[in-house]
Amino acid sequence: MEQTLVVLKRRGLENGWTLGPFVETGGYQALRKALTEMSPQDVIDVVEASGLRGRGGAGMGTGLKWKLIPKDSPKARYVVCNGDEGEPGAFHDRELMETDPHALIEGMVICAYAIGAKHCFIYCRGEFIHAHNRLRDAIREAYDNNYLGEKILGTDFSCDLVLHRGAGAYICGEETALLESLEGFRGMPRPRPPFPVTEGLYASPTVVNNVQSLQAAGQVVLNGAEWYRQWGTERSPGTLVCSVSGAVNNPGNFEVPLATPVSDLLELAGGVDDRGIKAFAPGGWSTPMLPGDRTDATMDYEGMVAAGSVLGASSIIVVPQDMCIVRAVWRGSKFYSHESCGKCTPCREGTYWVEQILERIETGRADANDVDRLRRVNEGMSGFKSLCALAEFAAGPVGSSLVHFRDEYDEHVRLGACPFESQKVPA
């Protein structure tokens, strides 16, 4: 199958991340159209009509989010781009920021115009030096050419954009933790409500959008809602960039219409490698895994729920047949217990105990009750008992592997060892 390049359309374009090639390929036309031909409400209406949904994981309507910004608030409003991509297996936002930074700036200024904001912030993950530098240079070019700053394109609209860096914390990909971090604090999530649309950055109305959502919104403004709806389904319209990695021959990012089957994406990624597929996580490691015979599942919000998982960050990780599931899940559990910020007890304690029990099972020190104990602790920490979704993310791989691969767990306990002899126990 062919890809449908919408947000990735400048991939491969020579110097596509600089202003000249960007403008030559239609860049900043959406911004010009919004500022000169549309009212802020028109912009919100077209984005809402397109059905574009947030690509960060929760899948909330992008236009709806913009609409929820209170129009009568005396406070300043803010636009924040979540460029803190850290979900294991996800690498599309990074490519989008590196290859098309101006499209992100354009989408953000359009959003600022729509909601009446004068300040935008890009929260770029700290480790992404390359993306940071591309964004920094693009922002400079945009200021120099009046796409940012005072009286943009000769209109009365003015807007500033600040590029901000994270410093190494997975939790800051969660929107309220991100806002805490952007305010100069430890990145710990806040209770909701109030939601960021009413009390976000500096307790003011704030839109927090993912990189891909903002870039897609720009294209929607330029080409219209119906154009965007030519792809995908009624409830999950448009195109989606999917990362595919793990046991595939040609890992990478692939843009396809929503509701494309996983099998087509695996084909785009050169097929599963010689090791064969045991299981896959469809939306990054934090989404419940599905067994290898479920590649008929489709990459859309509803399709993935129907298949027993979630679309999440649309990032497929293929687990090979020769990989011990317990070991893979244990590896993931170390990540979650390290990244849990410690604010909420179910997550702080749950991720710790899940890691301990998984270690016992994998290293042959488990007792007969440990697999059931693992299930109970996992259920105990999940079910939205914490301020953010990190505990749910941690519970996803554990719970789903217990459903699909319970026999592997039991085999470990029965043998008192990992049955995958070839696999060394990591330090």
Binding site: A76, E85, G86, E87, P88, G89, A90, F91, D93, R94, H119, R125, G126, E127, F128, I129, H130, D160, V162, H164, R165, G166, A167, G168, A169, S181, L182, E183, G184, F185, R186, G187, Y202, S243, S245, G246, A247, N250, P251, G252, N253, D273, D274, R275, A281, W285, S315, I317, V319, P320, D322, A328, R331, G332, F335, H338, C341, K424, P426, A427
Partner: protein, 187 residues
Amino acid sequence: MTVLNDAFRANAREVMARYPQPRSALLMVLHAAQEELGYVSDDVVREVAEIFDLKAADVEGVVTFYTMYKHKHPGKFLISVCRNLSCMINGADETIAAMQETLGDPNQTTDDGLCSWETVECLATCHWAVAAQVNYLDVPYLTPDRAKKLVDDLRAGRTLDEVLTELRAAKSLQEAGSAAAQRSGGV
């Protein structure tokens, strides 16, 4: 005697002015201090707190939350190796073992002050598994052999630029000759 000079402080105030509330610049100013001095020392914490008119403990709390801020001086080259799922599936454990063999324990610095290494979580370059960075510059396909060669080359005094250009010439894991690729081939 201060560790952050007047030029640094002037620049810090400029960064603070970009934000509606100056404290928002804290992470950026800490990054700048680390770039200048190599790590975030107790002196840096105290002086940054002074610049922001915060308690040192408040700044220390922020510093310790984020893994990129280092509390001791890492080597001239900080090698970060991803150990998360996509990389694990493609041989991260073998690469990490090779690093351990070559440079000893992680989060230490070699006696000559040249190299430090650490394991990190998903670097969002899973298509390059095993993903790594040297001083936050990306390295694709870090197989055990390539990891050893990387360290040898840096020890031999080759420039980082030169070494990275060479490592980036490989266009696939197979080309980089990984253990995982050999396993796939039935070896």
